[in-house]
């Protein structure tokens, strides 16, 4: 119980720190981005409108402390400010529009590569020195060593441009009206296929090799040798004895991966012009859209923290050694 309280306290502390860093970071940057933005609106808006706008962004004459309080209040009430880039669209609306795309694409690709990779890792550690054990890690590592946005570019070039099998960009065919029609869903799947393949290929090797190494490590433990000497069946030895323990470190990586789903494959989304949050963040930075940057940042931070908390709590149930404390 103490462990659980500890973790939750930790979660709250780091959440607060993340929020505060998120507040301080843009304010540490030299030159007021807001001024640049207001300069853009100079001719179009009256002075009073500009003042009102400044006030709504919490920039202006208020003290830093007051800004911080306003910022926290805005966060809690989901009033995340208005986008500079697409003024006056609320940032929360823009995020709402792009998050499902990212979660759909990156989330599903991550899940696929975790399950396939872990299963393959168990399999090849079982067949040590077999054909797959010798080739698969190298082949998949070659994929890992390649910059995945370049692989994505190649895919666009070969399958999109040369062969014309798949569309080269966007989340769905803009000619189709969104809705629950089979045409629309097919269009989404068709557009998601190439980015998903590059994401899966890029992530797979990490899971395979990680699981393989964990398995080999666990297979060297005394209790496995004992079980083997006792005559436990190989399949039971692999799954019930070794894989159960070897999978624990994978869980930590899984938490990070799930947290990173929200930040998504920024580069992949850029290459495919996919309407997700990564694309949103890139264009926000390019146009210095600070409310947007802050919000997407916070979203990503919260996602990682929550995923970590869940895995930490799971870990304590799965591995009693952690619960009873590390040293001494």
């Amino acid at each position: 119980m103490r462990y659980v309280m500890n973790r939750i306290g930790f979660f709250i502390l780091s959440l607060w720190a993340a929020i505060t860093i998120n507040f301080i970071l843009p304010r540490m940057m030299p030159g007021s981005p807001a001024d640049a933005m207001f300069a853009k609106f100079q001719g179009q808006l009256t002075t009073t409108a500009l003042e009102a706008m400044k006030k709504s962004y919490g920039i202006g004459d208020t003290s830093l402390w007051q800004q911080y309080v306003d910022y926290l209040h805005g966060l809690v009430t989901f009033n995340w400010g208005l986008s500079f880039m697409q003024y006056p669209t609320p940032v929360s609306d823009m995020i709402q529009a792009s998050v499902p795309w990212t979660i759909g694409l990156v989330g599903i690709s991550t899940l696929i590569s975790v399950f396939v990779g872990t299963a393959l890792g168990v399999y090849i550690s079982w067949k040590r020195k077999g054909f797959l054990d010798n080739t698969l890690p190298v082949v998949s590592m070659a994929f890992q060593a390649l910059p995945y946005f370049w692989v994505a570019l190649l895919c666009v070039f070969i399958f999109g441009f040369k062969l014309d099998w798949f569309p080269m960009a966007h989340g769905y065919d803009p000619a189709i009206t969104p809705g629950f029609t089979s045409e629309y869903i097919l269009s989404i799947l068709n557009h998601a296929f190439l980015p998903a393949i590059t994401l899966i290929l890029g992530g797979l090797s990490g899971w395979i090799v990680g699981m393989r190494n964990n398995m080999i490590y666990t297979l060297g433990e005394d209790y496995v040798t004992f079980a083997e000497a006792k005559g436990v069946k190989t399949s039971r030895l692999m799954f019930t004895y070794a894989a159960r323990n070897a999978i624990l470190p994978q869980l930590t990586s899984f938490a990070i991966a799930i947290g990173n789903v929200v930040s998504g494959a920024i580069l992949t989304e850029q290459v495919f012009s996919y309407p997700g949050i990564g694309n949103q963040l890139t264009s926000a930075v390019q146009s210095q859209d600070f409310p947007m940057i802050q919000s997407s940042f916070l979203l990503i931070a919260v996602a990682v923290l929550v995923a970590n908390l869940i895995v930490d709590l799971l870990y304590s149930r799965l591995d009693p050694r952690i619960r009873t404390g590390g040293s001494n």
């Binding site: 993340a18 060593a145 910059p147 441009f161 040369k162 930040s263 580069l267 990682v304 970590n308 404390g325």
Partner: protein, 317 residues
């Protein structure tokens, strides 16, 4: 007592000590780099790129940023990889980019591993309040998603050089390594040989340095390799997005110009394939060499047999 505890078994075993000099021993440590086909390939690729990086000005036929040749050439005898739309020689750019990429990659990889070691090992070994504070900082850096944070910082640095990018990558990207080191230290800290070292009166600092770190050498070496790979990929990605100085010479910047000038749609594969292949080959060499590192430091990976007989013997002696 200390020497027994450290027994990195096979090294002690295979040296019947007819007094080798230091250099032979040093070379001997690199033996697995050549005996294993995978790591030999990796090491060869690595040496080739190291050679290119060091002698770039001699190898490259032209100035990489001189825009004085015919634009949009396909590969010719004079311009092996063709020219860009502003008439720069792509082959020369490729050669010079290797240099920047190697420096940035290895600099950032080693720096981030050192930071990670400090945070991970100290936190994992000390436990308690120290651990709470250190892993709190680690978690904070984990929370800040690497690429997104890099993008934001780059937006503020506007047009940074590849070296500044490397520094930022190292300062933001050490957390993952620290976490791995910490959990490994935590499992090691409970082992008997650590207790023995502690009881023999060794200081915490010495235990961390001489007992814990050598026992996770494969993880450290692996971390350097993968941090380097990560740094190379991150630098390429940032440059590709155009967040690095777009006049710098790097493989990522080459890809930025290629994709911004519609090299894809013009079918100019000679422009965007070489930079990606360069990154991929350097990365592959790192990954392959990691196999050799595993072989040197992790006897368990050596053969099918899981338990060595002489391992037992040394433990008992």
């Amino acid at each position: 007592m200390k020497t027994e505890l450290q027994t990195s078994s096979q090294h002690n075993m295979e040296a019947p000590t007819p007094r080798r000099n230091n250099f032979t021993i040093f070379l001997g440590a690199f033996k697995p780099f050549f005996t294993n086909a995978k790591s030999a390939t990796g090491f060869t690729i690595f040496l080739i790129f190291l050679f290119i990086a060091i002698f770039a000005p001699l190898i490259a036929p032209y100035e990489p940023s001189a825009a004085i040749y015919l634009p949009n050439l396909s590969p010719t005898a004079d311009h092996w990889f063709g020219t860009t739309n502003t008439g720069q020689d792509i082959y020369s750019q490729f050669i010079f980019s290797a240099r920047n990429t190697m420096i940035v990659g290895f600099g950032a990889g080693i720096l981030s591993t050192i930071i990670g070691l400090i945070f991970g090992v100290v936190g994992g070994y000390r436990g308690g309040l120290t651990d709470s504070i250190l892993s709190f900082v680690t978690n904070l850096f984990l929370v800040m998603p690497g690429l997104a944070l890099l993008i934001v910082i780059q937006a503020y640095m506007t047009a940074s050089t590849p070296f500044v990018t490397g520094l930022i990558i190292a300062l933001t990207g050490w957390a993952w390594g620290a976490r791995v080191f910490r959990s490994q230290t935590m499992t090691l800290a409970n082992r008997d040989f650590i207790s023995a070292a502690r009881m023999s009166g060794m200081s915490s600092f010495r235990i961390m340095l001489t007992q814990i770190c050598p026992n996770m050498m494969s993880i450290i070496a692996g971390n350097i390799m993968f941090a380097t790979l990560g740094a190379i990929l991150a630098e390429a990605g940032l440059a590709f997005l155009g967040f690095q100085d777009i006049n710098s010479i790097s493989w990522g910047t080459m890809l930025y110009w290629a994709s911004n000038n519609a090299a894809l749609i013009r079918g100019a594969w000679w422009w965007f394939i070489p930079p990606g292949l360069g990154i991929g080959l350097v990365g592959l060499s790192l990954v392959l060499m990691n196999f050799a590192v595993d072989q040197i430091t992790n006897p368990r990976l050596k053969g099918q047999k899981r338990r060595k007989k002489h391992g037992r013997k040394t433990a008992r002696a």
